[in-house]
């Protein structure tokens, strides 16, 4: 069996659903649109499992190496003899792995949404946008060309925008979706410039060709780009940094992370799918896709990535400890975990042991998608029941919502890295990779691990324990379709850690085998357990400790609570500088200088001149006679002057 033609249906089915539901939105009932979404996504999921099976176990390998398979290829837009935008489908370990992640989480979210969104205005619209997102995300990971990737990169951005702004009559949702789109668009600008530079020097838009040319020190393209420098850096490094900035925007790396916490204004299942499991890891995917170029030709950029990611990861974990909106805590935790993935990519390299970091990042991406989606969906059930996002309104829910309680606890244990949950394995790999490369980064990552355990259990205890707080007495878990995905994802969060990832997903496609370092494992587990213990002391029951501690470190606490005032800095730049110092003067200049002085000025001058000279036509015969005589003399003199003999 070596036919891959069915792959095209994996993205196509959600696309068809999007168009169909989108066109007949107003005429569709909830049942039909929900069912259509779930069924088409179900088939896609099934097909992508088939693809994964076929790729990893049957025909993906040749000579013990997973090869890259291109199953579709046509020219979409011919730009010049050497550059054309090709559309194709690329299968390699990373894209197949992503395919499985995206379709699995999508399917879970689709099923969950039929319950969560029940009775909402615009139910059909919700499912069409969700299908659009799945289509774009699947196509993004399957892309063969860099412009094709950029196209779907923009499309996932817009579907995220549409879904964050789903409650479009809520001002906070409107400003959140605007913010998300504009911040990521700003990052995409750098991605675009990166594409322009890389495609010009590599004279191709095909990713595999670019990789081949830009990693081969002997190729003319490589020579050209290596010899050119910009501000003292090689142009290749600059271009790759630009591409990374694009990725950092989508993946919410510092300082472009500000949109993600606000994006929680969207419906909770959307946050689970887009802002936790799939779209936000697009930046990781982007760096992984171009990894050979980074690792071989511009390792300096990888170091930058590692530091930015490690810092972001620590920074977000610190903020997460102080937030009260449960979705925001999860959002900061997502930023922190994506930081882990990018950090792990950043410390990786090409060939041999150094490929380990690459594998670890992909592994963490995979397990994180499962347990973070689980956590979000649990939070969704809680919010759906309590009708509030704030911890203050929760507490003591474990009795009333036993299933959610267990599922959420599973997610927390997984993200805290307690064996044998999935997060334990992937996080160990990430930490090991960091340890072997750079002790400073490792230290930051270790602190982050402790903080992660602390804030996750703070979250857990504040929701499900912490005494009982006043909330609706009728708050009770009903059996509904929403609990099914919770069950499935809980199981996945428990078992996916046992997948021997290094045998499947490696940068060069060569599987390798490894064993864990037990002393490193011990450190990480001890730190995590310590975090959990502190959280238990503080938050298992109502206690005065946290408040007292916050009071002692008031300045620091306030800075962290207000997210280091980064939003305010952005607001200052956009409102004060761009609006008031650029746009307003530009508008004024247009009205008063260009229009007022030049255009109207010319018109007024013409008017005035004609006003002045119209006095010449006085109708007075004596005046005319004078003019006649004077002009005749002047003309005759002129003639004599010009044609003097």
């Amino acid at each position: 069996m070596d036919s891959w033609s069915y792959i095209i249906w994996i993205p196509l089915l959600p696309l068809i659903t999007f168009v169909a539901i989108g066109l007949f939105e107003s005429r569709l009932t909830e049942k039909i649109s929900g069912l259509a979404g779930c069924v088409s996504m179900g088939i896609s999921t099934f097909l992508s499992y088939c693809a994964a099976w076929q790729y990893f176990f049957i025909s993906g390998k040749s000579e013990e190496v997973y090869r890259k398979i291109i199953t579709l290829d046509f020219t979409w837009l011919k730009l010049s003899p050497s550059l054309s935008v090709e559309w194709g489908i690329l299968l390699d370990p990373v894209s197949v792995m992503m395919l499985v992640v995206i379709t699995t989480v999508s399917l879970m979210v689709f099923i969950y949404s039929t319950g969560y969104m029940h009775g909402e205005r615009g139910f059909a619209r919700y499912f069409s946008f969700l299908s659009l997102f799945s289509f774009s995300m699947i196509s993004l990971v399957l892309a063969t060309g860099i412009v094709q990737m950029y196209i779907f990169w923009e499309l996932v951005g817009v579907s995220s925008f549409l879904l964050i702004g789903y409650y479009y009559d809520k001002p906070s949702a409107v400003s959140a979706c605007k913010k998300a789109f504009i911040v990521t668009r700003f990052a995409d600008l750098f991605f675009l410039i990166g594409i322009l530079i890389i495609s010009w020097y590599g004279s191709s838009l095909d990713i595999q060709t670019l990789i081949a040319r830009l990693t081969d020190a002997g190729s003319p393209e490589f020579q050209a780009i290596k010899n050119e420098t910009f501000l003292g850096f090689s142009v290749l490094s600059v271009a790759l940094l630009m591409v990374f900035i694009g990725g950092a925007g989508k993946s919410a790396m510092f300082p472009l992370h500000i949109w993600l916490p606000d994006a929680m204004e969207g419906p909770t299942p959307v946050s689970a799918l887009i802002h936790a499991a799939t779209m936000v890891v697009a930046g990781v995917y982007l760096v992984a896709r171009l990894f050979p170029v980074y690792a071989i030709s511009a390792p300096d950029v990888l170091t930058v990535i590692a530091y930015i990611a490690a810092l972001t990861s620590l920074f977000a974990a610190v903020i997460a400890c102080t937030q009260f909106d449960i979705k925001r805590v999860l959002a900061y935790s997502t930023i922190s975990q994506i930081g882990y993935m990018l950090m792990s990519l950043g410390v990786a390299g090409w060939g041999g042991d150094r490929e380990f970091g690459f594998m670890a990042s992909q592994f963490h991406l995979f397990t994180h998608a499962m347990f973070k989606a689980l956590l979000f969906l649990c939070a969704g059930v809680v919010i759906h029941t309590i009708h509030s996002n704030y911890m203050q309104d929760m507490g003591g829910l474990w009795k009333k919502m036993p299933i959610t309680n267990i599922a959420f606890l599973t997610g927390c244990l997984a993200i805290a890295g307690i064996p044998p949950f999935a997060g334990f394995f992937s996080k160990e790999d990430v930490l090991t990779a960091a340890f072997e490369h750079d002790k400073f980064i490792y230290t930051m990552a270790l602190i982050t691990a402790g903080l992660t355990a602390f804030y996750m259990f703070r979250l857990y205890f504040r929701i499900f324990h912490y005494g009982t707080t006043a909330h609706h007495h009728d708050a009770k878990e009903h059996f509904s379709i929403m609990l099914i995905p919770l069950g499935i994802l809980s199981v996945l969060s428990l078992v996916t850690g046992f997948i021997p990832f290094s045998e499947f997903v490696t940068p060069s496609g060569k599987p390798f085998y490894y064993h864990m370092h037990f002393n490193l494992v011990a450190y990480a587990v001890i730190v995590s357990v310590a975090g959990i213990v502190i959280a238990t002391l503080f938050f298992y029951r109502r206690s005065a400790l946290p408040v007292a501690l916050a009071g002692k470190m008031r300045v620091i606490y306030l800075a962290v609570y207000n997210k280091f005032y980064i939003d305010e800095i952005y607001l200052f730049v956009t409102k004060k500088i761009i609006f008031n110092c650029i746009s307003r003067p530009a508008g004024w200049f247009d009205r008063h200088i260009i229009d007022g002085i030049f255009v109207n000025g010319t018109a007024n001058a013409t008017g005035r001149v004609s006003e002045e000279i119209k006095g010449l036509q006085s109708g007075n015969i004596r005046h005319y006679l004078w003019f006649f005589a004077a002009s005749s003399v002047i003309i005759i003199l002129l003639f004599l002057f010009i044609y003097q003999p």
Partner: protein, 501 residues
């Protein structure tokens, strides 16, 4: 005369016949339907032309222009009616047909002097058709002038706000452009034959003549600026915001959608193609102006609050991208420029038609006085958002295809000056996103601002016809750009060859 040639003449005769029929009727409904039928026929004819053109090309016909037809008009100075089309003209003709057709339906509710209104509108579009298919510089100029005049009436009579001022300003500024153009075109005429005996206005003939460089240096800026004014060349763009905001819906649509394209088309096919040496030498001036226009237009849009001003200033930014693409003087960038002309034409027509429809309902164009309209008029709101997404260059719509082609093409020039200009121009994609989302956020999203908005009715059938027509064009080009782009790319052979001679 082969049958295909009649196809081009039909572009003049169908509107002429429609005009004659209009003169004969009085009944309001008949006026509308005759206009709609005439322009519908014209649209079919345009599509037929497109198909025929593609068939000819795929059958291996490589003539630079197809379906040529030539009739002596005024033999004394060798003016002839010389028509013929290449890929670029075909794209422009299709654009004109689409926009005019939609314009007829968008002005279904014009309440007074309806016959005269449709008469002027169709005259305007006839002149544009004539312009795009002309191969004779004099005929070209004749149609250009013919297109500018009805605009004065359309704004002055059916306009709103400071319509007299706007109409006067628009017409005078464009006439100023014509004056420069006139000198430039006569210059071409008198240099069209080195021997000095057989002067000609024929563009194909002039293209093969190498005009002395001193003359080129003089005439190139005249022609480029002359056409540039109607293409909203910074800083001669200020007729556009006032003119468009005062004009009635359909006039804005046709003017921004089609007439502004006369500028780009002329800059490309007259200035650059006939005076290539000067273009190589002087394009940097216009690159500076166009880059300034892209950024300036975008930033100025951010603070506007009148829907029509917003669209007019964003048009300045988008049209500057057309000029930028042309000035980059390579095949890819110029392909992008033509695609951008098409894309901007359809998109801005869609915007103006929507603005007209929204204004009819809310009686204001000030976005700060509206809010939450998406909830009460979901169809119009959704289409506005789609147009906005096209404007900010979302893939899947025509805007993206055009922009990426211009940017990648522009980046092929490997010196610092062109690179920097390109990168500055690319930053506009962020600013565009800012103003589009700001506008959408203020007047479409959010809570419904006024109680009485709940009684608003969504789009009526003729409004749907107009918007769906334009929307389909945006989506089709966005998803299948290769039809157009290949056609344009091969038609640029002549220009590129001249530039490299």
């Amino acid at each position: 005369m082969p049958a295909e040639s009649n196809m081009l003449l039909a572009f003049i005769f169908i509107p002429l016949l429609t005009l004659l029929c209009l003169l004969a009727v009085k009944d309001l409904n008949r006026i509308r339907w005759i206009s709609a039928a005439g322009m519908g026929l014209q649209l079919l004819n345009a599509i037929h032309l497109l198909v025929q053109f593609l068939i000819e090309r795929s059958s291996g016909n490589l003539d630079p222009v197809l379906f040529e037809i030539q009739e002596e008009w005024y033999t004394a100075i060798r003016i002839s009616l010389h028509f013929g089309v290449d890929g670029i003209s075909v794209v422009m003709v299709v654009l004109t047909a689409i926009v005019t057709f939609a314009g007829i339906f968008a002005s279904w509710t014009v309440s007074y002097w309806t016959k005269e209104f449709y008469f002027s509108l169709i005259l305007l579009s006839m002149a544009s058709f004539g312009f795009f298919i002309s191969l004779d510089l004099f005929t070209l100029f004749f149609f250009y002038e013919l297109a500018v005049i009805p605009m004065y009436l359309l704004i002055g009579i059916w306009g709103s706000g400071t319509k007299e001022y706007a109409a006067m300003k628009l017409t005078l500024m464009l006439m100023g452009g014509s004056a420069l153009l006139m000198v430039g075109l006569l210059g071409l005429y008198f240099y069209s034959d080195p021997t000095g005996t057989n002067y000609t206005f024929d563009m194909l003939k002039i293209a093969s003549v190498k005009i002395p460089i001193d003359a080129q240096r003089f005439f190139f800026p005249l022609i480029f600026v002359g056409f540039g004014i109607i293409g909203a060349l910074f800083p001669l763009h200020t007729w556009s915001p006032d003119g468009h905001s005062a004009a009635p819906t359909a006039a804005s649509m046709v003017h921004a959608g089609v007439l502004m394209k006369l500028g780009g088309y002329g800059c490309l096919k007259v200035a650059t193609m006939l005076l290539p040496e000067a273009a190589n030498e002087m394009s940097w001036i216009f690159i500076v102006l166009a880059t300034a226009g892209v950024i300036y237009g975008a930033y100025t849009t951010i603070i506007q609050t009148d829907l029509k001003y917003i669209n007019a200033y964003s048009s300045v930014s988008h049209c500057a991208l057309v000029l930028l693409g042309i000035c980059m003087l390579n095949r890819t960038a110029m392909t992008g420029a033509v695609l951008q002309m098409f894309s901007h034409g359809v998109m801005t027509a869609l915007f103006f038609s929507l603005i007209g429809m929204i204004y009819e309902r809310s009686h204001t164009r000030d976005i700060t006085r509206m809010g939450g309209l998406l909830k009460v008029i979901p169809y119009l709101g959704t289409v506005y958002i789609i147009a906005g997404l096209c404007s900010l260059g979302l893939p899947g719509f025509s805007g993206f295809v055009a922009e990426i082609t211009v940017f990648i093409g522009a980046f092929q020039n490997d010196d610092m000056f062109h690179r920097v200009a390109t990168i500055i121009a690319t930053t506009s994609i962020v600013v565009t996103a800012v103003y589009i989302l700001r506008v959408v956020g203020i007047f479409l999203l959010g809570p419904v601002a006024h109680e009485e908005y709940h009684s608003l009715k969504d789009a009526r059938w003729f409004e749907r016809v107009a918007t769906v027509t334009l929307l389909s064009a945006i989506v089709i080009v966005g998803i299948y750009p290769f039809w157009f782009s290949d056609m344009i790319y091969e038609s640029l052979g002549g220009v590129v060859m001249n530039l490299g001679r």
